[in-house]
Amino acid sequence: MSPAGRPLVMPVSAYVIRCTAEDQPRVRAGLAGLPGVEIGEATPTGLPLAADTPTNRAAADLGERLQQLPGVKAAVLVYHNFEDVADDPVEVPSAPQT
């Protein structure tokens, strides 16, 4: 359960990691430290990756961390399944008036 007592929501995402073939070993090393990440078959221009994360916040953080990994030119989100999330109340940002 989440701290708020709600059932956990776990978005599933997929990324294309843009990196050169030469950089792929160190990119893989960086990815090895990230939980919930599964890597697919590489091509000379990148790595496919799927991830499930325990929360929306973790999903957003993962995107940032992928972008920062050594050797990564770009981490591009290519699939986003939020069917768990869609049943959960979505937090609306507060936007107080001036």
Binding site: P7, L8, M10, V12, S13, A14, Y15, V16, R18, C19, T20, E38, G40, E41, T43, T45, G46, L47, P48, L49, A50, A51, D52, N56, R57, A59, A60, G63, E64, K73, A74, V76, L77, V78, Y79, H80, N81, F82, E83, V85, A86, D87, D88, P89, V90, E91, V92, P93, A95, P96, Q97, T98
Partner: protein, 797 residues
Amino acid sequence: MIRSKSRPRPKPDVPMQTNRRDFLKQAALAAASSVLAGTMVRPAHAAEGADGLVWQKAPCRFCGTGCGVMVGVKNGRVVAVQGDLESPVNRGLLCVKGYHAGVALYGKDRLTTPLIRKDGKLTPASWEEAIEAIAQHIFKDPPKFAFYGSGQWTIPEGYTVMKFMKGGLGNNHVDPNARLCMASAVVGMVTTYGVDEPSGCYDDLDTADTVILWGNNPAEMHPVLWSRIVDRRLKGQKVEIIDMGTRRTRSTEEADHYLEFIPQGDLAIANGICHALVKSGKLDRDWFTKHCNFRKGGDADGEAMTFEDYAKWLETYTPEFVQKFGGLRPAQLQLLVDRFADPNRKIVSLWCMGMNQHTRGTWINNLVYNVHFLSGKFGKPGSTAFSLTGQPSACGTCREVGTLGHALPGGRIVANEEHRKQCEELWNVPAGRLNPKPGHHAVALFDALQKGELTGAWVQVTNPAQSMPNLNGLTSKLNERFLVVSDVYPTVTTDQAAVVLPSAMWVEKNGMFGNSERRTQQWFKMVEPPGHARDDVWQVIAVARRLFELGHPGMKNKDGGFLFSFKDAEGRPVEIWKWDVFKATNVDKLLFDEYRPFTLMKKYALAPYDELVKSRGMRWPVVKNPEGVWKETARRFVEGEDPYVKPGSGVDFYWGKLKDGKALIWARPYEAPPEVPDEKFPFWLCTGRVLEHWHTGTMTRRVPQLHRAMPRAYVELNPGDAARLNIATGDKVKITSRRGELVLPAWINGRSTPARGAVFVPFFAEESLINLVTLEAHCPLSKEPDYKKCAVAVAKV
């Protein structure tokens, strides 16, 4: 949305969910692998995927790139989004906003019922009450009512409003928010080659040797197009990026050269490039002699001049002049000159609001075309000048349907008697119904509301109480007028409304958009809108029908029938003003079939509806070839690509002002901005957007991931200025102009870095309205306001 307590929900740790999650993860991995390999595609029509979701195509809801999105639906809800591999625009990629387009449907404060202000409070009402209130107000004094729309209107939505206002009420006070973002590009094209919309296309990004950004930050604003450029480097291709700007951005990080210029200095730089090209003789004389005339003057007409006169006129724009007024050192200017002087180099110039929101926005558009024309870098693969658009259908709706005060559908204008006759015939309304006097442009429309010259307005799909410049001067009295707002979430504009109408959004309705590269895209409704929300098209037609019942003569066609009379395939009348009938009818197809003949008159030639259903969008002109295949056009005005080009001409600007197939090279001078920093207000203020939020943030701030990534507005300062003023990141800073003030947290060495003496503030946050501070000064030709430069004071609070 509140979860139903009656429906059992699996606990997160039960095996069923784990299996489902594993399955989804494999599906996700397959999707990513497909993007890399370019293998898996989904059909355009609705089809169930291996993951149990029903997938269907749609264009993205947000910017003007026009990315193809595959939308996954389960149990009547959008639950997944994938980039459309079949889309030639994005080839499976989306940006962070696009991937959350589905989540944006489900903010818990969606507007779900009509609201009418009673005793100062917005109170739930029935559709019948709301429609009656609007119709009664319009009926009292139709000429004093206006419509303010959007580049997010679908094509049928914009067309419906045009027919209602101009064909029905005989009232031309219709203008869109697109006036605020691309009007200068429109007038730039019209004055340069006689007709709106670009010649080139995104394909040119794939083959350009050099991409020049003119005050443009595509890394944040058009990220998919940006990745299309930078991904070429990963494939070993050489593509040079030159970033000309007034602040270092994420785009600068990838650039080979960053050329920082003084605000408004782009006018001097473009003329400086032309001067150097002419002086050196490194021109494509054959190209511009064959395809261009020369013109001088500050207005849209100008007068003829010779090349020799033009060369003499350019003598002012020496490297010294460019350094003084543009801020580029001679070597930096020479770098640009060398690129254009190289006959073998293919160059794309890109720009967007940085150049269009400019008190001489039309001129600077003209000048960039000049550079490309003199060097012959136009109308060839990899060489073009291209204005990007910020909204998904600024082109398809505002520019092609013509939802502007002076315009009619299909490139017609209200001031032209022949054009009015053509529209009256196609709309089957009596001769003389259309009003020849142009309506207000956006800023004038809000000025007229402010002064009470207009008594009411209907706003759809936009948020002017946040996005107009100088808000105190233009929108502070909206709550004293009869303001109708159709929207999906509460906004600072709905806060001012007399009537709020809850709208269907994106895939909750049928729709069509037209993107930056003339690509018309169609989608079908996939899920129901929440509560009592209804389509914007229906809202307008329902009000029109009520006016018809009240006896407004404009709501009758020439035969005495209702203005929006349609028949089904069997010839039976379809009463689309009735919601149940509307829901059961593809009204988009009815409207588009009526609209399409307009597009043939200006050779826009949009594809037939059924062809668009089958495709991932088609770039017009779309003409059936001898084999009976509808063929799109990649590059307009180019022989072999554009079917309307005269054989043997190579390039044919067939709408050229002088009717000789030529474009114009304009002598447009440097002009100082209307407000510059001084002792009291020593900083430049530039406003703009950020990666995570789209325009005024009304949708993207409802997406938790995007909101958390960028929760509040800020002011960016140059580190040198911050040190001098003893300001650190997070400190509260007051920004003051002659019009208003705002306090924001400082951000130094963050995502971007303004030039010394300049600050940047994004406009997405309604609690921090930077447009209280901005200046209302607009291009006199395009009427587009300049949000990129005014003078402010900056002080630590």
